[in-house]
Structure formats: structure tokens, C-alpha cells
Symmetry: C2
Subunit: 352 residues, 2 copies
């Protein structure tokens, strides 16, 4: 394949020129505000794009599961933070094996997860970096009070096989600074050093200096963008790098077009930005992707002046890029439509 | 791995004993009502389960995309209906190659898709079976009027490379009989024979004889079941064969438990039966999976008398089994917990 038009649809494409612009923008922002950038690779799941991020100045990468970290460590990434509790014998052994390959850190919020990290560090003979996960408003994992963060930090500082690095939260939000400042002071009152305060999330990436309280930014979606981030302007529409090439396979009524890209191609993820519908059809912005079947997108074209016809190719921006990338065995990397390179997605589907 | 408890979580398991019960129930129902059963393999994506369905009496299988059909034909399946329009040179060539391997049929609603089928049949030297897709209330693809069905059927009957088989709709619903009876009469008025009227969908599978109008049932989810079908009773809870083994990885508050199975494990698919939440935790039926992140299930355990603790294993029924199976590189087949066999999912992610 030498041309995106030759790809059999549906196909996910990623424009590396746009990726480079997105990486440069985020790195410049972080550099200008004295923030470390530690990209989350769960978005692109590609060793090649991780390498682009590191070459641009990232301090390391973030993975959500050990399987992703294993792919990245095998590709030579030297500093990986896994922002998910590692529990159980098999995972402890895998974390130990990773720690023999590269610098590994874990973020977690429980003594059980801390103990597992310590066990892995002792087996590896090199400590696992540890960040105390704090719930600063996200309502997912994380200790609930700054003093609880300090208690777990103190336990980490005492534990063999673990090196206390600091604090972590997701996402960076309006409540982050207050919690993290209090947690940092509580840790420091115990005579411990907080080297890293790690925050995350693309929606607030470029507001990190205002929201404050963190020294490091974990963001993933900024590199590829999607319909949601284009709608908020965090990633300009022209820089949305991940797009789905689709074909109109039916026009059963004057109002309805059916595309060959459904929830197995775009994912069922609703827009994190709260947009209605399931994607943006670039050539027909007045169209609404009002429903997805597994293999069909149901599109209302009643507001289009000239509606797409059967056999026509269209380009769809997914609601949520991470969910979409995870569905594809392979993607077509390209540079502004040239140098098309169909490659596997090595870290996809690695939920363990 | 010899025991499901040894599987590292999250892991999708499929109980072949339950699958056998589900297959037998559906086949008996169809046999007793003189209906042909043509299972949709998009649910399990497994050649082994397709073989079980054929051995039990299915007349052939249904696939949604050519990629699925290629996997099944390679495994020796001899009769495949693809219920999706095949358009474009590459797909025509693939359909022709399939037709050289086995009996292929296509359902479609447009002259363009009919022409593509004809081209494939002529290249293969053997006709492609053709069913006219009718929109009997589903609102997806399908001709809108019985007379339009007859027009496309007549075009198919005249086309070299195609053999007119009859009519198809999805799902079989309250409007199916009236439309299909009228369409059949309209086709027959043109001197043509309607050999097959194919309906689909697990929710109405066991009501097909009441709803009427079809000679063949395409259903997929009946074989595995899920939370939605258990809630309606179409698949008894004990016969839900596909389940996700997960681990509690956090208990940040008294009300909240976090599991290591998120939308990348369960899928973001909402319940087709309209249930709230994202899965059923079997051991804690009072718990509510109120939100999914990609790798986290957020569970409200406030109504549980004894809530699950960190490190504890739980079993989750996904909302929608097809979406869940599609996410997994491999699944653990077993028989009531024994004979555990971890196998790949060969027809997963084949969207082209």
C-alpha cells in the first residue's frame, strides 16, 4: 500500500507529522513551565511513537498494565511508571523481571500493593520506585486524605525493595493543588523527601501550571487527539492524527447512511468531552453518527446539503482515541498521506 | 494452567458445558418449529464453537465481515452467509476466493452490493447466494418497502454470478412478519422462488414462531449469553458461559471497590436490554459497576453486607458478550471449571 486511498476499509490511520506537532507542543509547554512530561503510551500502544516522545524530551513513559510495560521495555524504554496496583504472585514476578530490564515505578494506594512492589524489588535486587496514589477529585483509586498519603509514604520509605518517589493523582483537576500541597507537607513533616508529584490527563494538560501542585505530567491522548479533544481545542482539528477510513455501504433512506465502521472499529466509548454521537465524519460535519452496531455506523445525513453515496470513502474521528486504537490489529502510519506504513499495534489488548 | 483460579486476571473464560446446553436448547427450539438455525459466529469468534453448532444441526454459519468468513472457511466450514454489503475491488476478490472454498451467500440492500456479489461469483465460477436485506423495523440497513425487495430480488435473479435465495432482516421483531409476508408475495408475483427468509437476533430467538415470517434464524449471543440475556431470561444465569475473572485492586472508600477489568476487558457497550451499569459481579449481586475506565471497573459496594477486599477474585458478567470477546487475544475454555484450555480468538478484530 502506497496511498491511504488503497487501504481496504475500515482502517485506522495515524499521521506521524501530526503526532510530531502534538509531541512538540506538549514538550514545549512542559519545558517552559519546568514540568517533566511522562507520556502515557496506552493511547498509541506503539513503541515507535514512544521513542518519538522520549527523543523529544520525555523523562520516561507511563503504562497502565504490566503487559504494556513489557512491550516497551523490550523495545529499549529505560524508565517506566505503571500507574496501576500490581497484586498477586504472577504479577510480582513480572514486575521483578521488568525491574531487571529498566527503571520501574509503581503508583498505588494500598499497603497490599506497596508490599507487592517491595517483594518485586527485593527479588529484582533493585528497588521499585513508589508513588502514593491520591484521589484529588477523580473518584477512582487513591487515598482519600493527605494524612493517609503520608502514612503510606512513610511505610514505603521503610520498606526494603521500594524507593519512595512521591505522590501521584489522576486526573489533574481543580482539587489537585490543595490536596497535593497538603500531602507533600504531611510527608515532609515525617522527614521524607517528595521528589515527584505526578498528575495526568490531556484535558487539563495545558492548564497544569494554573492548577498547580504537580511536578510531572502524565498525558496520553495529546499525541494523537480525537473528536473530543478537537471539540475542546486541546488538540487542533488539523492535528488529530488518528482517523478511521470508512466506506458508505448503504443508503437505505434519504436521511440515513450506513458506514462499515462500527463499535468494533471506533469503540463504544462515549465522548469524554460530553459530545453526543459516536464520531465526526470529516467530509460531512453536519452528519450525526447517532448509533453504532458492531460493524455499522448509523449516520443521520438529513442536514447535509449533498449526502454521501454508496461506495464513497469518508474519514471518521473517533470519540476517544485510546479505545479505538485498542481495537485494531494494525494501523497505517503515514506522513501527511505519504510514506504509508502498515504496522501492528504491539501493546494493544494487553489488559494483564 | 489447570485451574481457573490460576489464571492471571483479568481473563475471559468460556464454559463449554454451558455452551453445549445453550446450543442444544436453541437447536431443539428451531427443530421443533421447523426453522433452520444459522448461528452468527461474531459472538464467540471461535472455530471450535462454530463446529459444535454445526455438529448440533446448524445449516451453516453467519459472519458479519469477510475476515471472519476467511477464518471459518479455513477451518472447514462449508456454508457461510455474510450479512454485510461487500463493496470494492479488494473485497470482491476476497469474496471470490471464499466462494472457491465453500458455499458463500451475501445479504445486501443495494444494486451496488448486488453487482459486487455478481462480479465475485463470476470470478469464482460459482454463484454467490443472495438475500435481499429488508428493514422490518431495525432501522439499520435494508430496503424500506416490500416492493423494493422484489425489485432487487428480480435484479438478482437476472444477474449472472448470483443465485437468488430469498430475503433477510435484522432483527426479527414485531414488524417482521407483515413486511416479510408482503415481500415474499411481491417476489413470487414476479415468478421467482423465495427459498429462505432469514431473521436474526437472540432477544427474539425463542419467539420466532410467534413473530413468524422467517424460515431461518441467525442468532449469536444465545451460545454464550451475558448479563443482558440473563436479565431477560433468554439465557439462564447458570448457562451464561462467558465470564470475566477479575481482582479487586483497590478499596479507596467504604463504598467503592475498584476491579482490574475496565472497558478494555468488558467493553464500553451499554446493555442492549437497557440495564444500568457495566456488568454483574456474581459474588456481589448487590454491587453496581457504575463506571468503567479503560482498565478499572468502578464498583459501588455500599449495599453489600460484606464487601470484597483487596486481592479478592470476583467474576463479572459483561453487558454484551460480543463486544467483550472481541477485546481478548485469548480466552480460557473450560468444562465446568475443569479441562482449562487457553486458546486464541482467531476471528477477533477482523473488521474488514
Amino acid at each position: 500500500v502506497t496511498d491511504l486511498e488503497q487501504l481496504e476499509t475500515p482502517f485506522l490511520t495515524i499521521d506521524l507529522d501530526a503526532v510530531e506537532r502534538n509531541i512538540a507542543r506538549a514538550q514545549e509547554y512542559c519545558d517552559s513551565h519546568g514540568l517533566a512530561l511522562r507520556p502515557h503510551v496506552k493511547t498509541h500502544k506503539q513503541t515507535r511513537i514512544a521513542r518519538m516522545q522520549l527523543d523529544a524530551g520525555a523523562v520516561g513513559i507511563t503504562c497502565q498494565k504490566l503487559g504494556e510495560a513489557e512491550v516497551m521495555a523490550d523495545a529499549g524504554v529505560e524508565d517506566i511508571l505503571v500507574t496501576f496496583p500490581v497484586l498477586g504472585e504472577t504479577k510480582v514476578e513480572r514486575l521483578a523481571a521488568l525491574a531487571r530490564l529498566c527503571r520501574m515505578s509503581i503508583a498505588a494506594d494500598s499497603p497490599a500493593a506497596l508490599a507487592a512492589a517491595g517483594e518485586a524489588g527485593r527479588r529484582a535486587g533493585t528497588p521499585i520506585g513508589f508513588l502514593v496514589e491520591c484521589d484529588t477529585g477523580g473518584g477512582r483509586l487513591g487515598v482519600q486524605r493527605p494524612e493517609a498519603a503520608a502514612e503510606l509514604a512513610e511505610e514505603a520509605a521503610r520498606m526494603e525493595g521500594v524507593e519512595l518517589l512521591g505522590l501521584m493523582t489522576y486526573p489533574t483537576g481543580e482539587g489537585t493543588r490543595r490536596f497535593m500541597d497538603a500531602a507533600r507537607r504531611a510527608v515532609e513533616r515525617r522527614g521524607l523527601v517528595v521528589r515527584v508529584v505526578s498528575g495526568g490527563g490531556t484535558p487539563t494538560l495545558y492548564r497544569t501550571h494554573e492548577l498547580g501542585g504537580v511536578t510531572e505530567v502524565r498525558a496520553g491522548e495529546y499525541a494523537l487527539g480525537d473528536r473530543s479533544h478537537a471539540s475542546t481545542g486541546v488538540v487542533p482539528l488539523d492535528d488529530v492524527a488518528a482517523r478511521v477510513e470508512a466506506t458508505v455501504v448503504g443508503r437505505p433512506t434519504a436521511e440515513r447512511a450506513i458506514l462499515d465502521a462500527g463499535s468494533k472499529t471506533l469503540s463504544s466509548d462515549l465522548s469524554p468531552a460530553g459530545l453526543e454521537g459516536h464520531g465526526l465524519v470529516l467530509q460531512y460535519p453536519e452528519a450525526t453518527v447517532y448509533e453504532l452496531s458492531e460493524e455499522h455506523a448509523h449516520v443521520d445525513v438529513s442536514r447535509c446539503t449533498a449526502a454521501p453515496q454508496i461506495g464513497e470513502r469518508v474519514t471518521v474521528l473517533p470519540n476517544h482515541v485510546c479505545g479505538a486504537v485498542n481495537l485494531h490489529h494494525e494501523v497505517a502510519l503515514h506522513r501527511s498521506g505519504r510514506e504509508v506504513d502498515v504496522v501492528p499495534v504491539p501493546a494493544r489488548g494487553l489488559v494483564r
